[in-house]
C-alpha cells in the first residue's frame, strides 16, 4: 500500500490545476450539503420548539361516546340508520388512578390533568367566547412553562382568580385586578362566576391569546359542570419524536383516546417531512454531480498518464495495484474536499448566525461532519471505480508505444 499511496499522492500533486479545480468543486458540494442539512435541522427544531412551547406532547381524552346497538342473533340481519352521538363534555373515568399510573411511568416527564370547556366572558356589554382551562398550576407548568410568558401581573390562580390571554384582555379592556364575569351554561344554571384577573399572558399564538382563561381546577370543574372530573391529561415525554410511539402504547394500556403532538399537528409534520425530503434530494444531486466531476477528472488523468501506467506495469505493477492507485486518488479527493468543505460550512453557519435573521442558530454537530466526510470519501471511491478499472485494464504494450 505504501507504493500505491505514494503514486496516488504524487499523481494528484503533479496534476495541480486539475486537482485544485475538482477539489474546489467537491469543497463547495460538501459545504452546501452540510450547511443545508444544518440549516433545515435548525429550522425544523425551531418550528417544533415553538409549536411545543404551547402544547403538550401527548394529550389523553375520554373515549368518544358511541352508540352500542344490541348484538345480533345468529343469522339475523339488521338495517340500521345510525346518528353519531353529540360529544358532550365528560370526564375521564378514574383519572386519579390514571394520573398515579402516568406519574410512575418512566417514559413520561410530566403529567398534568386539566378540565377545559367553552364559556362566555363578559365585561360591561362586551361578550367573548373563551376556553376555560382548569389546572393544577404546579403540574401544568411542568408541561407548559406559562409563567415565562406573563406580560402583566403574575401567574397566580386560586379561588376567584383568573389568568387571561393578552388579546382577550385587549378586547375586553382588562387590566390586572379587573373583574371578569364568566358564564359557562346560561344564567339559570348557576354555572357562572365573577373572577379577578391576576395576570395576563402572551404565548404568541393568536388562538390561545384570544381564548384561554386559566383557572383553578376546582373552580373550572364547578363552572363546566364536571364536579371532581377532568377532560384531558397533558403529558410531556423526554424525546419529542417518540411521542407517537408512547401515545400508541398508552392507548393500548388505557383504552382512552390518546393523541400525540404529531397527530395534532399533522400538517406541520407533513410540511417538515417534505422539507427533509427536498433536503435529501438536493444533497443527493449535489453528491451525484460531485461524483461525476471526480470521475471525469480521473478519466482525463488516466489518458494523460497512459505512458506512466504502461511503464509501471512493465516494471511489475499488477492490475490490482493500478486499480488501487486510482481508487485512492478518488478517495483522497473526496476526503480533502470533505475537510475543506467542513471548514467552509462552519464559515457559512457563522455568517448565518451573525448576519442572518437571528430567528434561530445553525448548529453544526460533529456527527454531521463525520458522516458528510465519510459520504464524500465514499463518493470519491465509487466515482473512481470506472476510471480505475480502465487504468487496470490498460494494455501495457499499447501504453508504452503511446510515448
Amino acid at each position: 500500500m505504501y507504493t500505491e499511496w505514494n503514486l496516488a499522492v504524487k499523481f494528484l500533486r503533479d496534476a495541480r490545476g486539475q486537482t485544485a479545480m475538482i477539489s474546489v468543486a467537491i469543497t463547495v458540494g460538501v459545504a452546501v450539503i452540510i450547511y443545508i442539512v444544518a440549516l433545515i435541522t435548525g429550522l425544523q427544531a425551531n418550528m417544533i420548539n415553538r409549536t411545543l412551547g404551547t402544547q403538550a406532547h401527548i394529550k389523553v381524552y375520554a373515549p368518544k361516546e358511541i352508540n352500542l346497538p344490541a348484538p345480533l342473533e345468529n343469522g339475523e340481519l339488521r338495517l340500521m340508520l345510525e346518528d353519531p352521538r353529540a360529544q358532550r363534555l365528560r370526564s375521564i373515568n378514574n383519572w386519579q388512578n390514571l394520573r398515579d399510573l402516568f406519574d410512575a411511568d418512566a417514559e413520561l416527564l410530566a403529567v398534568s390533568p386539566l378540565a377545559s370547556g367553552p364559556a362566555f366572558a363578559q365585561r360591561g356589554t362586551a361578550h367573548m367566547s373563551v376556553a376555560l382551562i382548569g389546572i393544577d398550576p404546579v403540574r401544568y407548568q411542568r408541561v407548559i412553562p406559562i409563567a415565562n410568558d406573563i406580560i402583566a401581573g403574575e401567574f397566580r390562580i386560586g379561588a376567584g382568580n383568573a389568568v387571561v390571554g393578552s388579546r382577550l384582555a385587549d378586547e375586553l379592556g382588562l387590566h390586572v385586578s379587573d373583574k371578569l364575569r364568566i358564564d359557562a351554561g346560561g344564567s339559570d344554571s348557576g354555572r357562572e362566576a365573577v373572577l379577578s384577573v391576576t395576570g395576563i399572558f402572551e404565548l404568541g399564538v393568536r388562538e390561545l391569546d384570544e381564548r384561554y382563561i386559566y383557572l383553578d381546577l376546582p373552580q373550572a370543574q364547578a363552572l363546566l359542570g364536571l364536579p371532581g372530573g377532568i377532560t384531558t391529561i397533558d403529558l410531556l415525554v423526554p424525546d419529542v419524536f417518540s411521542a407517537e410511539r408512547i401515545a400508541a402504547r398508552l392507548h393500548h394500556l388505557t383504552g382512552l383516546k390518546v393523541e400525540s403532538w404529531m397527530q395534532t399537528n399533522s400538517q406541520l409534520m407533513s410540511a417538515l417531512k417534505a422539507q427533509r425530503l427536498s433536503t435529501s434530494m438536493i444533497s443527493f444531486f449535489v453528491a451525484i454531480s460531485v461524483a461525476f466531476g471526480i470521475a471525469s477528472v480521473l478519466s482525463i488523468s488516466i489518458v494523460q498518464r497512459t505512458r506512466e501506467i504502461g511503464i509501471l506495469r512493465a516494471m511489475g505493477a499488477t492490475r490490482r495495484q493500478m486499480l488501487t492507485v486510482f481508487l485512492l486518488q478518488g478517495a483522497l479527493l473526496g476526503l480533502a474536499g470533505a475537510i475543506a468543505g467542513s471548514a467552509c460550512s462552519y464559515a457559512l453557519a457563522w455568517a448565518f448566525n451573525t448576519f442572518g435573521p437571528g430567528l434561530f442558530q445553525i448548529v453544526i454537530w460533529p456527527g454531521l461532519l463525520i458522516s458528510a466526510s465519510a459520504i464524500a470519501t465514499l463518493t470519491g471511491l465509487i466515482a473512481a471505480a470506472i476510471p480505475a478499472r480502465r487504468a487496470a485494464r490498460l494494455d501495457p504494450v499499447a501504453a508504452i508505444r503511446y510515448a
Binding site: 500500500m1 505514494n6 504524487k10 503533479d14 511503464i311 512493465a314 505493477a317 499488477t318 501495457p396 504494450v397
Partner: protein
C-alpha cells in the same frame, strides 16, 4: 555449461485476430538465451523486433507457441502471475527513457522494488546510490528526471532496470534517440552491468557499431529469424 534463461519454441504472433485485417507478425520463432548472453536483435523496421521483445517480457501473449522464462512455462499464467514473474525476472529499458516525472531520480530507480516489496529498505537505497554513482549521476539523485539530459535519463533507466537484479535485461533501442557519445556510454554501461550482475542481455538496435560489439547477433526479417551468429566481440567479455 551456461544456464538457460529464455527458451522460445515455435512462437507466432498475430494482430487483429478474427478481423479482416488479421496479420501474422512473427512466424514460428525459436530462440534460446543463456545466462551469459549479450545478444543484439537486429532487423529492418517493422520486422517484429519490438513485438518479440514484448512477448519475451511477458507484456503480451503469443498467439501460438511456448515461452519458458527461467525454466517456467508462461503461456498458462494469468495476468497477475505474469506480472510477478516479470517483476522478478526481467528489467526493461525502452527507446524513450520512460522515467516518471512525478518522482525523483532516486524514487524512479527504486520503483520496481517498491512495487513488489513496498517501502524500500536501507540496503536497497544504498545499492541504488552505488549504481547511480557508477553511472556518474550520484549528485542527481533528488532531481526530477525531466531536469536531466536524454543520455543521463537513459542511464537512470538502465539503473532502474537493474535494481531488481533481473536474470534478463531487455532493451528496445535504448540508444535510439541519443547522440553517438551518449549512446556509447549507455552501451558501455550495459556491458559493464552485464558482467557485474551476470544477467542475460537482449538488445534491439539499428546501429551496426553496437551490434557488432555484442557477443551474438540475431537477425530477424519479416517475422523470421534469418541468422544467429556468435562472435566474441572486441569488448571486455571473458566468458
Amino acid at each position: 555449461m551456461p544456464e538457460e534463461v529464455l527458451h522460445l519454441a515455435r512462437v507466432h504472433k498475430s494482430y487483429n485476430i478474427g478481423q479482416p485485417a488479421q496479420t501474422e507478425v512473427l512466424h514460428g520463432i525459436d530462440l534460446h538465451l543463456a545466462r551469459g548472453d549479450f545478444a543484439a536483435l537486429i532487423g529492418p523496421s517493422g520486422s517484429g523486433k519490438s513485438t518479440l521483445l514484448n512477448l519475451i517480457g511477458l507484456l503480451d501473449t503469443p498467439s501460438a507457441g511456448e515461452i519458458h522464462l527461467l525454466g517456467r512455462p508462461t503461456q498458462t499464467m494469468n495476468d497477475t502471475e505474469r506480472t510477478m514473474h516479470r517483476a522478478c525476472a526481467i528489467g526493461f529499458v525502452f527507446q524513450f527513457h520512460h522515467l516518471i516525472n512525478s518522482f525523483s531520480v532516486m524514487e524512479n530507480i527504486l520503483m520496481p522494488l517498491m512495487l513488489t516489496r513496498g517501502k524500500p529498505k536501507l540496503q536497497d537505497t544504498q545499492l541504488a546510490y552505488t549504481l547511480l554513482a557508477e553511472v556518474g549521476l550520484a549528485d542527481h539523485a533528488t532531481r526530477r528526471p525531466d531536469e536531466l539530459s536524454g543520455g543521463q535519463q537513459q542511464r537512470v533507466a538502465v539503473v532502474r532496470a537493474l535494481i531488481t537484479r533481473p536474470a534478463l535485461l531487455l532493451a528496445d533501442e535504448p540508444t535510439g534517440n541519443l547522440d553517438t557519445t551518449s549512446a556509447d556510454s549507455v552501451f558501455q554501461l550495459l556491458r559493464r552491468f552485464h558482467q557485474e550482475f551476470g544477467c542475460a542481455v537482449l538488445l534491439v538496435t539499428h546501429d551496426p557499431r553496437l551490434s557488432s560489439a555484442c557477443d551474438r547477433t540475431i537477425k530477424i526479417i519479416d517475422g523470421h529469424i534469418v541468422s544467429d551468429t556468435s562472435h566474441i566481440a572486441s569488448g571486455d567479455n571473458s566468458h
